[in-house]
Symmetry: C2
Subunit: 410 residues, 2 copies
């Protein structure tokens, strides 16, 4: 194993997005990440999207580059095997990342009793340990009520589980920070992270809590306009859509020049008093500016818009469906070294990413497939716990552990 984090071994007990993503973030940087699941698969083993044959593309996507063991977590002997994996010796081991309930046999106290310097990152829904998922936290965050076209009511959910994504990545930060301190001091640690805290902290970080508190009013829905500067979407002649953003003076002046609206802007500024040299002035004038710009885009096809903006400082981009992303955008193709056509056993061959962190050629990892469920049960039990083939065979016979079970379609 190569990569920046070679030498680290992380045991992961997980399901769904955040914890698996946290583990994969580390695995794609070279850590040995061992995910354990209930024999037959955990709660996310069949999560959509699915392949045409009904296998989970979600599971395959979020577990790339890990090792998989399947154990019977419902019996004490299976729980004992998990505890032994978590507490196995080694300077880069003793790292546990989980969104399973951290109580009973998986409590920090019980695990720490087996390895004093354990680093455990425990993910929960709420700080009190109660359950919550992205799709129930996001409604509480305020964003869905402020999303969507003007003059509509009702929330608009995001399809992207953005809080799960932030939480998974932050879990990796917490693990690395605690592991660093363990190296310096010899002390392990429990790091706790809740999904609602991740979401509400970010609402605060982005200034939305302070705004609601100090201003005392809520932001109304404002369609696809950018907040506090000029940004809007436009339809092209053939009915495609583009987003155009001017956050900086240079971006604004480039847009004005490229679309030839300088004289119109001067006239508007005189007639309305909006100071178009400021972000706030452009924001206040956004409806007028969008109306002035709209015919320019409506008269051009997407390719013409692109040509007109080449070499200018205009900040813009086309809207793409998922299909258009993979068929039209070279950034999402093998032309981008982050991507490779991956053969995922049991599913097929498709484009898949390594870590977006480009750490230099010598340490870059290839795009690795997800394991089959239980693919490494035997290997891990032998290598990490030192079990003999006879002992492992006995565990298999008793159903306490299982080898790979779903490679049939490979």
């Amino acid at each position: 194993m190569t990569g920046l984090l070679a030498g680290l071994r992380v045991v992961e007990g997980s399901a769904f997005v955040a914890a698996p993503l946290g583990g994969m973030t580390l695995a794609q940087l070279g850590a040995d990440v061992i995910r354990f699941d209930q024999v037959g698969g955990g709660l996310d083993h069949g999560r959509w999207p699915l392949s045409p044959e009904g296998r989970s593309l979600f599971w395959a996507g979020l577990n790339k580059g890990k090792r998989s063991v399947q154990l019977d977590l419902r019996r004490p002997e299976g729980q004992e095997l998990v505890q032994a994996l978590v507490a196995a010796p080694g300077p880069g081991a003793g790292l546990f990342l989980t969104n399973f309930p951290a109580r009973g046999w998986l409590s920090y106290e019980r695990l720490k009793a087996r390895r004093e310097d354990l680093v455990m990152v425990a993910l929960t829904g709420n700080p009190d340990g109660s359950s919550e998922v992205d799709y129930t936290v996001n409604p509480a965050s305020g964003f869905p009520m402020a999303t969507g076209p003007r003059d509509t009511s009702g929330p608009v959910n995001s399809l992207l589980p953005a809080w799960d994504v932030a939480m998974g990545t932050l879990a990796a930060v917490g693990l690395l920070a605690a592991e660093r301190q363990r190296t310096l001091t010899g002390q392990g640690r429990l790091v706790s992270l809740s999904l609602s805290d991740v979401a509400f902290a970010m609402v605060g970080n982005l200034g939305r809590i302070a705004e609601a508190q100090l201003d005392g009013h809520d932001q109304p829905k404002d369609g696809n306009y950018l907040y506090g500067a000029f940004g809007s979407d436009f339809a092209t002649r053939e009915g495609r859509r583009v987003m155009v953003v001017a956050l900086t003076a240079r971006q604004w002046s480039s847009l004005v020049d490229a679309t030839g609206i300088r004289a119109a802007c001067d006239a508007i500024q005189q007639a309305t008093g909006h100071d178009l040299e400021t972000e706030s002035g452009r924001y206040d004038a956004r409806d007028i500016l969008a109306a002035i710009l709209r015919p320019w885009f409506a008269a051009r096809e997407l390719a013409e818009v692109g040509s007109a903006f080449i070499g200018t400082g205009v900040s813009w981009g086309p809207y793409q469906s998922f299909r258009q992303l993979i068929t039209e955008d070279p950034r999402c193709s093998e032309a981008n070294p982050m991507f490779a056509q991956l053969h995922q056993p049991g599913i097929g061959t498709y484009l898949a990413p390594r870590s977006p962190l480009d750490v230099g050629d010598d340490a870059n990892l290839v795009v690795a497939p997800a394991p089959a469920l239980g693919e490494h049960t035997e290997q891990v039990l032998a290598e990490v716990l030192g079990l003999s083939p006879g002992q492992i065979g006995d565990l298999f016979d008793r159903g306490l552990a299982a080898p790979a079970t779903d490679l049939a379609g490979a």
Copy 2:
């Protein structure tokens, strides 16, 4: 300074969300993060949301707990000061996080010449170094075209800059991973991360690239339904909204029991053939299930819904505006130890979060305010570069550096 990352010193050259968030993620775990800006403030110094007096709540939110120096970055002497800060000696120093163009005087090569073991995390819009912001990358990701009510056309932008959030957190992962390897090997490293890679990698991780590629079709807009399981929003009697999700068998059975729809579900299963014991079956039957559940919610006020679900395994949550979040949700209040009422000089007092990573009482940091621009110019120049009061005074006189300039409103 206490905290897990005490002893690390990170120099940050940044604007907007991702790079400042990356630095703040480290600062809130105890790292000494020194943000440098052009005298008078960078491109994000006035970014919305604003306080009633017109100060940036965004800047205050994303720079909490850092030190701030302001220098004239346009003159060689100011650039020399930045290079000296980045390359200053010390085992925990030599760490540079930036989204400024990493070329010329800020290129990795030039900086590495001054400190061989430099760790530099360079953020860009696209992998080729060209510019891109969340609001132009997100349209390309596929998500806005699949978001919004059924039977509507046109994209729906997200108000949350989710890719910026993911990128900032991932930048912290990259810095910690590279710093860890430097400790082990003595070798520094350039870590590059682009916003489009962050977004498109996640599209792949979530299975959306594989789905589009293997299925060959695009996902249509589907309102607020959850994809591939049962999840829907409902209106309550007083017109509030709630989101209800059943990702697991237990969540589904709890919902069925709590709302008393068991008999109706059995009848539907018989009449339609949908297997409501499976996630896919419940997803296929989502319109029918939502229609059956709707009267139950419409007959109850939000508080009654909450009471009915207490102690059940139902996964649900209310929709809240930003105002409702801070006035109705105890998780977003001082009852949650992550939050404190923060006095931010020049702005006022409001609720602000520390890191959502709870690393244990002994290492937890308090919620720290953002610095005034240039608040630490003198301190940092003296402490890190060893400049004398006379030398610093000379830099101030020549406009190459400036002390705090905007504390007037404090």
